[in-house]
């Protein structure tokens, strides 16, 4: 499939909705928990078993983003979005068959393996294109798309719950829900496939031309580093540590938010009810989503390194405030948790622009894909730290806020490590740069061959 080059007067404001149509769809992954109780009751599964499709999907997200990034760069965003559409939707259709025939392995294969490939390819599919269309505001552009990944669960959760209520929570009802999701997401993502375009210098006019020209496919200016070279630079691994530490700190709260706020205020005069804890979780999701667009856009104004100083430095202060005063003030606890979650989202959304600053736009999507392996580790590390320590403290007879004191101190330490890694980021050594004229010609030739 040829990279879809923009026709004359194509507006760059058509590219963010194309990206959003993909990210809002694949963001459904965070709403998997809605399927867990009906799956457990209708297929006689344990909680661990019912989590398998989601866990495999996240593993496949990391792997396909890491290993498929170069293919995405080579074949363009339309190819990537098409692959994401086919894999993500087929995953639901295979799962529907699995639910209908009560074959759980088909759900694991469909949603986890096939759908997971769709998640990874879909996640990185618009990043490089958005950065090329918005060289003046790369943080905002990628923030919009990656906000969509956070927003996907907000749509899928209530929608899925409503479908299970209408179709029933037995295996047939689950199958019908999977079927509707698969078909609906296929239609929804088609907009992205149809609208996405890569910019072309000669097709741009007026204001857009000046902004986009420097990053159009035929004109690679500034520092450019290939994905294979990027992973050999200390800058890549510093950013890997930064992302891993920031995500670990956020996911530690996100994964255990409801029991955490309940435990924190269990011994006070104003304990938190189950429904209020659910409201707290919803508020955290909003902060996560708002942070993606808000902080990422702010990074265009104050710089990438500075915004990560805020995420990691102020994040550590927020954790310290919770550890010191959290159980004495509910508003303070909620405020600090919201700020931490907004930094968690912001960290995800800002990193593509940080990569662009360091490695250029040449293979920024592929480099981003490889960096996302940090997310895979953090996804295990964050919940592991908080859950293991809370269980250990409970066995030692502790209760309330003291269950989490040690976890918070560890999180502060991890954020400090991330802060130092961010300080160590320097411009990439010239020996890693691609030889500019030859690569520019290569890219231009590739464009003309494919068009």
């Amino acid at each position: 499939m040829s990279p879809p080059v923009a026709p004359p007067a194509w507006s760059r404001w058509l590219v963010p909705p194309a990206a959003l149509s993909v990210h809002l769809s694949i963001g459904q992954a965070y709403a998997w928990s809605v399927f867990k109780p009906p799956l457990e009751s209708s297929l006689n599964l344990s909680g661990t078993q019912s989590a398998l499709p989601f866990q495999l999907a996240i593993v496949m997200l990391g792997l396909s983003a890491a290993f498929g990034g170069t293919l995405v760069e080579r074949n363009g965003p339309r190819w990537a979005m098409t692959v994401a559409l086919i894999c993500f939707s087929s995953g639901f259709l295979i799962s529907a068959l699995g639910a209908e025939t009560k074959q759980f392995w088909l759900i694991v294969l469909g949603y986890g393996f096939v759908g997971g490939i769709g998640l990874g390819i879909g996640y990185i599919s618009p990043v490089s294109t958005l950065i090329k269309w918005f060289p003046d505001r790369p943080g905002m552009a990628t923030g919009i798309a990656i906000m969509g990944f956070g927003g996907g669960a907000l749509i899928a959760s209530p929608w899925t719950a409503q479908m299970l209520k209408s179709f029933g929570s037995d295996n047939t009802g689950i199958a019908q829900s999977f079927l509707v999701l698969g078909l609906s997401y296929a239609v929804f993502m088609t907009l992205g496939v149809l609208l996405v375009r890569v910019p072309r210098t000669e097709d741009l006019k007026g204001e857009d031309k000046g902004k986009v020209a420097a990053n159009a496919p035929g004109v690679l200016s500034g520092v450019q580093v290939s994905a294979n070279s990027a992973v050999r630079t200390p800058q890549f691994w510093c950013l890997w540590v930064v992302l891993c530490m920031n995500v670990t700190a956020g996911i530690g709260i996100l994964e255990k938010a409801a029991p955490m706020i309940t435990d924190f205020f269990a011994d006070t005069s104003t304990p938190v009810t189950v429904s209020a804890a659910a409201g707290f979780v919803a508020l955290l999701s909003a902060a996560n989503m708002a942070g993606r667009i808000g902080w990422s856009s702010t990074s265009d104004l104050i710089g990438r390194k500075n915004i990560y100083r805020v995420y990691l430095g102020v994040g550590a202060i927020m954790y310290a405030l919770i550890a010191l005063f959290g159980d004495s003030s509910k508003p303070l606890f909620i405020l600090c948790a919201l700020v931490i979650l907004s930094f968690y989202g912001g960290g995800f959304a800002t990193v593509p622009a940080y990569l662009k600053d360091l490695f250029g736009t040449y293979q920024v999507g592929a480099i981003h894909g490889r960096l996302l392996t940090a997310w895979s580790l953090a996804g295990v590390l964050g919940p592991l730290i908080v859950n293991w320590i809370a269980d250990h403290q409970k066995n030692a007879g502790k209760h309330g806020a003291s269950l989490y004191d040690t976890s918070f101190i560890i999180m502060i330490g991890l954020l400090a490590i991330g802060f130092v890694a961010n300080e160590l980021v320097r411009p990439v050594n010239a020996r890693h740069h691609i030889p500019a004229p030859r690569e520019a010609v290569d890219v231009e030739r590739h464009q003309s061959e494919s068009a």
């Binding site: 058509l14 909705p17 927003g151 209530p158 409201g279 919803a282 909003a286």
Partner: protein, 44 residues
């Protein structure tokens, strides 16, 4: 010679509006449901 200048580029604004509505409408639904749930923190 004057072909390029006499042909005005197609107006993309309806397409832009449609595209943003396509993704904006479900997002607004999701945010609305989120607000209903988040209110429980203060009322529940």
């Amino acid at each position: 010679m004057s072909n390029d200048t006499s042909q005005s580029p197609p107006d993309r604004r309806p397409l832009i509006a449609f595209a943003w509505l396509w993704v904006g409408a479900p997002l607004v639904y999701g945010v609305y449901e989120l607000i209903l749930k988040a209110k429980q923190l203060f009322t529940g």
